[in-house]
């Protein structure tokens, strides 16, 4: 058992520094770790007596205690309720993280994903007993192919970055099939960090492509760097600057003329869904993030799902498993063999993120062709409304309108002593999750805002007035106010340097307390 008051707050037990004795503040309850609430022998699950059998563990029985804490169900429920309340969430307010697409997560999706016919089926059941599951995979593949205009889709990648890896592996395999081993991949400086990391993981040298003054790909730089040793150009479109690459077709032609493949990062597909045919943009491969565009919940950082659409030239290399529909019904091709002999192999266990497929298909079916097009339009409209409303107080990074997200730089804070980070922390005191900060890297002190289509105009208006008000306070010289922010959040600024210099990555019992067998 542990010393609660110290554990929860770090305050001295006399409470001299804190406003309350408990460390809690009104409804903001402090909560110790599970491990600090242990009573040996206590449990929250009642199980029957183990059957009286002769052990077949051989000599492999575990020796000594593990060190897991014992709590009852009411304690566990209260624990997680209390800690949950320290999280900001899209359910509690606008979450304007640019390029992360924090939109409303419909509860119908959660309900249908829990139908026993989807949630309680084993991936290795005989395929005759899972025809409905394979039908669902085939159906979401049909929607994805129709929405993108692309002829094939690989469903198995576990998240966006995994989809990127899958896409780059397809390119590698296709080049290998041609007997070519190209060395470089070109990536714009504005790209998400996973793009260069993925290219490097596949053994490619990464060559950055500059942005022009308007925030778009510098065509001259691209032309200069393209060559016979370039495997692919990776482009996010719409870009992380919130701009549609209007020269995309020309870019695709240049890339293809060099014998390279055109990879599109589809993280921002939500902005163009139902309005743009991706095949017509000259794209060879693109991953989608079901947890962005198609509303599957982010869950505090996953699980995601990253299907990859492929042009005819890359489709034969798609990883197994494949779902095939023929006269006998649906079947799974699980091996790199026969009809899948060109497949790049397996990149994940089982058949992909089924639970996410159900949720995303529920979202697609709910909206329909008309609703999905409206989603893209409202997302773009909301972002432009933010831009139009904030452009006089903040400093837009580039002139003109934007797509689904709007990028500001920190010129409006020049000379105030307030940084983008300080500004963001002040927003959290106002009850708002900040926008994406310091990304993309090509803009100084970037503030990237993506409201999504699920914010009402009222919600945007309230947000706009707070951001404007904060900008005025910064310009009025209230530097200390920003440096001290946040004051009202469950924790104030956390010492990240300390965390990295002396990593404490798990709880350990204090000397003299019950020791785990290690």
């Amino acid at each position: 058992m542990s010393d609660w008051s110290k554990a929860v707050s770090g305050f001295k037990s006399e409470g001299k520094e804190g406003p309350t004795m408990s460390g809690s503040r009104g409804l903001q309850e402090e909560e110790p770790l599970l491990f600090e609430q242990d009573a040996p022998g206590r449990t929250g699950v009642d199980l029957p007596e183990p059957p009286a059998v002769k052990s077949r563990l051989g000599g492999m029985a575990r020796q000594g205690a593990i060190g897991l804490p014992g709590l009852s169900e009411p304690q566990v429920v209260r624990h997680y309720m209390r800690v949950s309340q320290k999280n900001y969430a899209i359910d509690t307010g606008i979450y304007p993280l640019g390029s992360c697409t924090m939109k409303h997560n419909p509860r119908l999706n959660e309900k249908v994903a829990r139908l026993p016919g989807f949630a309680d089926i084993h991936p290795l059941q005989p395929v005759s007993t899972v025809q409905g599951a394979l039908e669902l995979m085939d159906e979401i593949a049909r929607w994805i192919k129709m929405l993108t205009g692309m002829p094939a889709v690989a469903l198995s990648p576990g998240a966006g970055a995994h989809g990127e890896l899958c896409g780059m592996m397809c390119i590698w395999a296709a080049l290998d099939h041609r007997g070519e081993h190209r060395k470089r991949v070109l990536v714009p400086e504005s790209a998400h960090g996973t793009n260069p990391a993925t290219a490097a993981a596949c053994g490619y040298a990464v060559d950055p492509i500059k942005a022009d003054a308007a925030g778009r790909v510098d065509l001259a730089d691209l032309k200069a760097k393209l060559g016979p040793d370039v495997a692919a150009f990776m482009l996010t479109n719409p870009s992380t600057c919130g701009l549609f690459e209007r020269d995309v077709r020309e870019i695709a032609d240049m890339v293809h003329a060099a014998g390279a493949y055109f990879y599109c990062d589809g993280a921002n597909f939500n902005a163009i869904m139902g309005r743009v045919n991706c095949a017509e943009l000259g794209i060879d491969v693109m991953h989608l993030n079901l947890h962005k565009t198609f509303s599957t919940p982010h869950g505090g950082g996953g699980p995601g799902s990253g299907p990859v659409v492929l042009a005819e030239s890359l489709a034969p290399y798609a990883p197994v498993p494949w779902v095939v529909h023929d006269a006998g019904g649906f079947r799974l091709v699980e091996r790199k063999d026969g009809e899948a002999k060109m497949a790049l192999g397996r990149i994940k266990g089982n058949h992909g993120q089924m639970g996410m497929f159900v949720r995303a298909l529920s979202y697609m079916m709910s909206h329909g062709a008309d609703g999905l097009r409206q989603v893209a339009e409202d997302a773009v409209l909301n972002a432009n409304y933010l831009l139009a409303s904030l452009k006089d107080e903040l400093t837009p990074a580039f002139p003109g309108t934007c797509m689904h997200e709007v990028l500001f730089d920190d010129r409006f804070l020049e000379g105030t002593g307030v940084t983008t980070l300080d500004f963001a922390k002040a927003m959290t005191d106002e009850g708002y999750h900040p926008m994406t900060m310091y990304f993309p890297l090509i803009v100084h002190g970037a503030l990237l805002m993506e409201p999504t289509e699920t914010e009402s105009k009222d919600s945007l208006d309230r947000f706009i007035s707070v951001v404007k008000g904060l900008a005025r306070r910064a310009k009025a010289g209230e530097t200390d106010f920003f440096h001290a922010a946040p004051r009202l959040t469950p924790r104030r600024r956390l010492d990240e340097t300390l965390a990295a210099r002396k990593p404490v990555l798990r709880w350990r019992p204090k000397p003299g307390e019950r020791q785990a067998a290690e």
Binding site: L33, P40, T43, L57, G58, A159, I347, N384
Partner: protein
Amino acid sequence: MRYLPLTDADRKAMLSAIGVPSIDALFKDVPKAARIEGLLDLPRLQGELEVERALGAMAAKNVAAGSVPSFLGAGVYRHHVPAAVDHLIQRGEFLTSYTPYQPEVSQGTLQTLFEFQTQVALIMGMEVANASLYDGATACAEAVMMANRVTHRKKAILSGNLHPHYRDTTATYGRFVGYETVLADPDPAGKENLVSRIDGETSCVVVQNPGFFGELRDHTALGEACHKAGALLIVIVTEPVSLGAVKPPGAMGADIVAGEGQALGMGLVFGGPHLGLFATRDRFVRQVPGRLCGETVDADGRRGYVLTLSAREQHIRREKATSNICTNSNLCALAFSIHLALLGEAGFTRLAAVNHGKAVQLAERLAAVPGVSVVNDGFFNEFTLRLPKPAAPVVEALAQRRILGGVPVSRLHPGRAELASLLLVAASETNTEADMSAFASALTEVLR
């Protein structure tokens, strides 16, 4: 549309505030040839009722494992998940938050990750664990790549008793990332000797415990041989419930433990999303892939948590990152952690004992079926049967009798005649006496 709050009046007012005549003006940069005019050939907007009805019809075409006696394992295990788990992970604050990059307003996710990391380290008998990866198979590949970084070598030896999906995934990564994978032959009896295959080029040896065929082995001697040769021992765990009863990898000298956490908190879900577990020794922590949560203090000196050591990660290091991974399997990690919190030491060890007991009972019953024998000496909750005929059609025939009677080894190791008659069978606390009787008598009938 019920998810779209803007009214037509709002849209009109906003277009006017923006200063454009129509929504089309905001899509002016899209090349004409790529513009979609009108609507795609897909169904139109539908209400909740219609969507639920359509998806419900698809779900009804599947045989839910819980609706019949079910004995499937092979890396995915069916356990009872306490009701509180699913309730708590559906709290909007957990379900609908992003990666905790703003720690001041993400302490909920961060504290639960810190607890998760601790639980994983404890059950594995390791010093430190990460915040999770996509699944067990990709965690295995990441473990090999980490061993390559640590040893500056590029050859991994994979046990014949490593799950075939893990072997395939790790081999695929090797082909593209650029390392060699040596695949030992499947060995249902669990007698393979990998020590003789270790050489000066070997970065790691990857074994699984319990093995794919269910067998239990102490890999301590293998670990010592690895260390003598400057290689690392990687132990894979696909059934974490086993750790309530079986000697953990940390006690065998494992340098990295990777595995699948699905068995706790998640259910089957047709194989995903599941949960990649990853644990190692303190001295390797800066080579770990994926997110790590660490303890620190805030400006008032209060304890708090942050994502840390991010100098390893893609959003900081870009092409120099230890992995391209961005997402973890956070909500699955939360479900795992809540399930384990409810169990506690007493519940977890008892759950393991119940599982082992059920498996021993089932093995005894099935071994009494004429022509059937149990291949393994020792096992936890899964074992391999040798049948008098090929296992795949037997499993089909059992399914027709509404029994999900295990996984034929040939499904995962096709084209190997010596494995064709092997059947993997798992038992858990969810299997009743009646289930086991039904299975034994159906198997007797099918084999007759």
